[in-house]
C-alpha cells in the first residue's frame, strides 16, 4: 500500500513584479503588480513503504518545493497530499513526529550548541525512549563516525561532519519515512560514499522509506531503485534507474590527459570531439564499444597521465528525456 500519495499537486507562488526606475518604484507603491510562479504543476506519484526513491531535476525544477509540500511546510495551492494517512499541512504536529527531514543546504542543528546538546534536545522533543536513543547513537557512531565530533559546537564542524550530524539528527527518533533534500551537496567522494552507505543501511535494515533529491546522477545509481525526474515543475519520468540510463542515451566521453604533447589519431568507433596538446576527449557509444577495450587501445598508443569517463549530467539527461517526449507528441 502506498504510504505517500501526491495527486495533481500544484504550488503557485505570488510574487510582486518589480518595475524599473523611480517611476516604476512609485507605481509599485500604489498599484503593485503581481506575477504567479508555478513551482509545481499537477504532479502525481505514489511511494510504497520501504522504497528508496530518487527525486531529480535541474536547479529550479521544483524539487525542494515538492519536498516542502510533502513535509507539511507548505500548503498545496491545489491537489491532494496524503502521507502516512495524514495531511502533512493540516495534521502537522502529529505528522512531523513520524518523519525525518534533512535539508542539505540548511542545518537543523542548534548553531551555538555542541552536537550532543542538539541530540539531547531532539530526544526530549520526540520523546525517544532511552534504549532506542542509545542504540541509535551507537549505530551513528559506527557508520557515520559521529563520536569524533559529537561534543564540538555545530558551527565549528566541517561541511561533511555537519551533514553527517544532520542526517543522524533526522533519524534519532526512528522515523518511518525520511526526506533528504540534497544530502550530499558540496561533499567530497569519501564523505558522499559514507552517506550513501548509511542511507542504504537504514533503508535495507530498518525498512525506512526514503525519498532523496540530488544533483548527482551517481547518488541515484548507487542508492535508488526508482527515480522520479521533474523539470519546470512537471513530472518527466517515473521509473527504474536503469530505464533512465537507457533513456538518457548510451553516449559517454573518455577524457585522456597526456604526459607529453600528443597529436591523437582517430580511433574507430569513437569520435574525437576535443583536442589540445595535453588533453583529448573521445565520445563513444557504450552499447557498441567496450570501455576497457577503448582504454587499453589508448593506453597502448600514448603516454598517459590520467583517464576519466564522463557520465551524462542531470541537466543533459533531463534535456534528452524532454526532447524525446516532445518528439513523441
Amino acid at each position: 500500500m502506498a504510504i505517500l500519495e501526491l495527486t495533481e499537486a500544484c504550488k503557485t507562488y505570488r510574487i510582486v513584479q518589480r518595475q524599473d526606475g523611480i517611476s516604476g518604484a512609485l507605481k509599485n507603491l500604489f498599484v503593485p503588480r503581481y506575477r504567479d510562479i508555478q513551482a509545481v504543476k499537477r504532479i502525481s506519484f505514489a511511494i510504497e513503504a520501504g522504497e528508496m526513491v530518487g527525486f531529480i531535476g535541474p536547479n529550479g525544477a521544483g524539487k525542494s518545493t515538492t519536498i516542502k509540500l510533502l513535509t507539511g511546510v507548505l500548503v498545496p495551492t491545489s491537489g491532494r497530499v496524503q502521507v502516512l494517512g495524514l495531511s502533512p499541512f493540516k495534521d502537522r504536529k502529529r505528522y512531523v513526529g513520524r518523519i525525518g527531514v534533512v535539508f542539505g543546504q540548511r542545518t537543523q542543528l542548534w548553531w551555538d550548541l555542541p552536537v550532543s546538546d542538539t541530540f539531547d534536545l531532539l530526544r526530549k522533543i520526540y520523546g525517544v525512549p532511552p534504549q532506542t536513543y542509545r542504540r541509535n547513537l551507537e549505530l551513528f557512531d559506527d557508520i557515520l563516525g559521529l563520536a569524533d565530533f559529537r561534543h564540538q559546537l555545530a558551527r565549528q564542524l566541517s561541511l561533511g561532519q555537519r551533514m553527517r550530524a544532520d542526517i543522524a539528527a533526522a533519524l534519532l527518533h526512528d522515523p518511518e519515512l525520511v526526506f533528504l533534500d540534497e544530502p550530499t551537496i558540496g561533499l567530497d567522494i569519501v564523505a558522499k560514499d559514507k552517506i550513501r552507505g548509511f542511507m542504504q543501511h537504514i533503508n535495507a535494515e530498518r525498512g525506512v522509506t526514503m525519498l532523496l533529491t540530488s544533483h548527482d546522477m551517481q547518488d541515484m545509481e548507487r542508492t535508488c531503485q526508482r527515480v522520479i525526474v521533474i523539470d519546470k515543475g512537471a513530472l518527466l519520468y517515473d521509473g527504474s534507474v536503469s530505464g533512465l540510463a537507457s533513456l538518457s542515451g548510451s553516449r559517454r566521453s573518455l577524457i585522456v590527459d597526456f604526459n607529453v604533447h600528443t597529436r591523437c589519431e582517430p580511433i574507430s568507433g569513437t569520435e574525437l570531439i576535443q583536442e589540445n596538446a595535453l588533453r583529448a576527449r573521445f565520445s563513444f557509444d557504450r552499447g557498441s564499444m567496450q570501455v576497457h577495450e577503448l582504454v587499453s587501445q589508448v593506453a597502448k598508443k600514448y603516454d598517459i597521465a590520467d583517464m576519466t569517463i564522463e557520465e551524462p549530467s542531470i541537466e543533459s539527461v533531463v534535456k534528452t528525456i524532454f526532447s524525446a517526449q516532445q518528439a513523441r507528441l
Binding site: 525542494s64 504536529k93 513526529g97 527531514v101 540548511r106 542548534w110 534536545l121 526530549k124
Partner: protein, 263 residues
C-alpha cells in the same frame, strides 16, 4: 514532550549566562535608566510641591519596578521575523511542537535570566539608593507577582502578533517601533497613570497596555483593593486570551502565505 518546552526555556536561560560582560552592562544600564527617571520625578515633585495625590515614594517605587522589569520583559520579535523571511522557520515547523509554545518557552528563559541576573542586582542597588514603599498588605505581594507574570504574558502575546506580521510585510521594524513606544508611554512604566490626563486614560483603559505594568503596580501600592484586585487580574487574563487567539489566527493564516524559495 512537555520536557522539551522546559528544556528550551532552560537552554535560553543558560545561553544568557554565558556572556559575563553583557550581564554587567545590563545591570549598569538598568541602574542608570532608573536613576535618571527617579531624578526627573524628584524634580517634578520639588517644583509642584505636594499637589499630587500620590506620594513621591510611591512614584519612585513604580519607577523601580516598572522600568526595571520592562528591561527584562523585552521581546525578541526580530529574530522570529528573520526566521520567517529567510525560511529558517522550516526547522521549527518540522518539529512536532506548537510554535507559539516554543517562542513562549524561549521568552520565559530569556526573561528569567534577565530578571535574576540583571534586574535583581539593579533593583537592590536602586532600592538602597532611592528607597521603596512596602507592599500594601501581606497578600499584595503574591498577587503582585501573579499579576506581573500576566503582564509578561500580555507582552509576549503582543510580541507574537508583531512577529507574525512578517508573513505579510517584509520589514516589521516600524510596527515594532510603534508598539514599543506605545508600551513605554501607555503601560504606566514611564508615566504613571496618576499623571495621565483623563482623555488619555479613557483610551488606555480600553487597551491591552493597561494590563501590563499598571495592573501589578496598583496592587503593590494599594491603589486597588478587595474585589477590584480580582477585577484587574481577570481583565489581564482576558487580554491574554484575546491576544493569544489573535496571534493563533495570524499564525494559521500566515502559514498558508509562507513561501520558502530555494534550498
Amino acid at each position: 514532550m512537555k520536557g522539551a518546552y522546559i528544556e528550551i526555556a532552560r537552554k535560553t536561560l543558560l545561553e544568557g549566562l554565558a556572556f559575563r560582560v553583557n550581564t554587567l552592562i545590563g545591570i549598569l544600564d538598568t541602574v542608570i535608566l532608573i536613576a535618571v527617571n527617579v531624578a526627573i520625578w524628584k524634580a517634578v515633585y520639588a517644583s509642584t510641591g505636594t499637589l499630587q495625590t500620590v506620594s513621591l515614594e510611591d512614584t519612585i517605587t513604580n519607577t523601580l519596578f516598572a522600568i526595571g522589569i520592562s528591561q527584562a520583559f523585552w521581546m525578541d520579535e526580530y529574530s522570529i521575523a528573520h526566521k520567517i523571511r529567510t525560511g529558517a522557520i522550516t526547522n521549527d515547523i518540522l518539529r512536532p511542537m506548537h510554535f507559539g509554545g516554543m517562542i513562549l518557552a524561549a521568552d520565559i528563559g530569556r526573561a528569567g535570566y534577565r530578571l535574576l541576573v540583571e534586574f535583581l542586582p539593579a533593583f537592590v542597588i536602586c532600592a538602597l539608593l532611592f528607597g521603596l514603599s512596602a507592599p500594601a498588605s501581606a497578600l499584595a505581594l503574591p498577587l503582585f507577582v501573579l499579576s506581573m507574570a500576566m503582564s509578561f504574558l500580555v507582552l509576549h502575546s503582543i510580541g507574537l502578533i508583531m512577529s507574525y506580521i512578517s508573513f505579510w510585510y517584509f520589514n516589521i521594524f516600524s510596527f515594532v517601533t510603534i508598539k514599543n513606544a506605545a508600551v513605554l508611554v501607555l503601560s504606566g512604566a514611564y508615566i504613571p497613570y496618576w499623571f495621565m490626563p483623563d482623555w488619555m486614560m479613557a483610551f488606555v483603559r480600553a487597551s491591552p497596555f493597561q494590563a501590563i505594568y499598571s495592573a501589578p503596580m496598583s496592587i503593590w501600592l494599594g491603589h486597588v483593593n478587595g474585589s477590584s484586585v480580582l477585577y484587574g487580574l481577570a481583565k489581564q487574563a482576558l487580554w491574554i486570551v484575546a491576544l493569544q487567539l489573535c496571534a493563533q489566527a495570524l499564525w494559521v493564516l500566515g502559514r498558508r502565505k509562507l513561501a520558502v524559495n530555494g534550498g
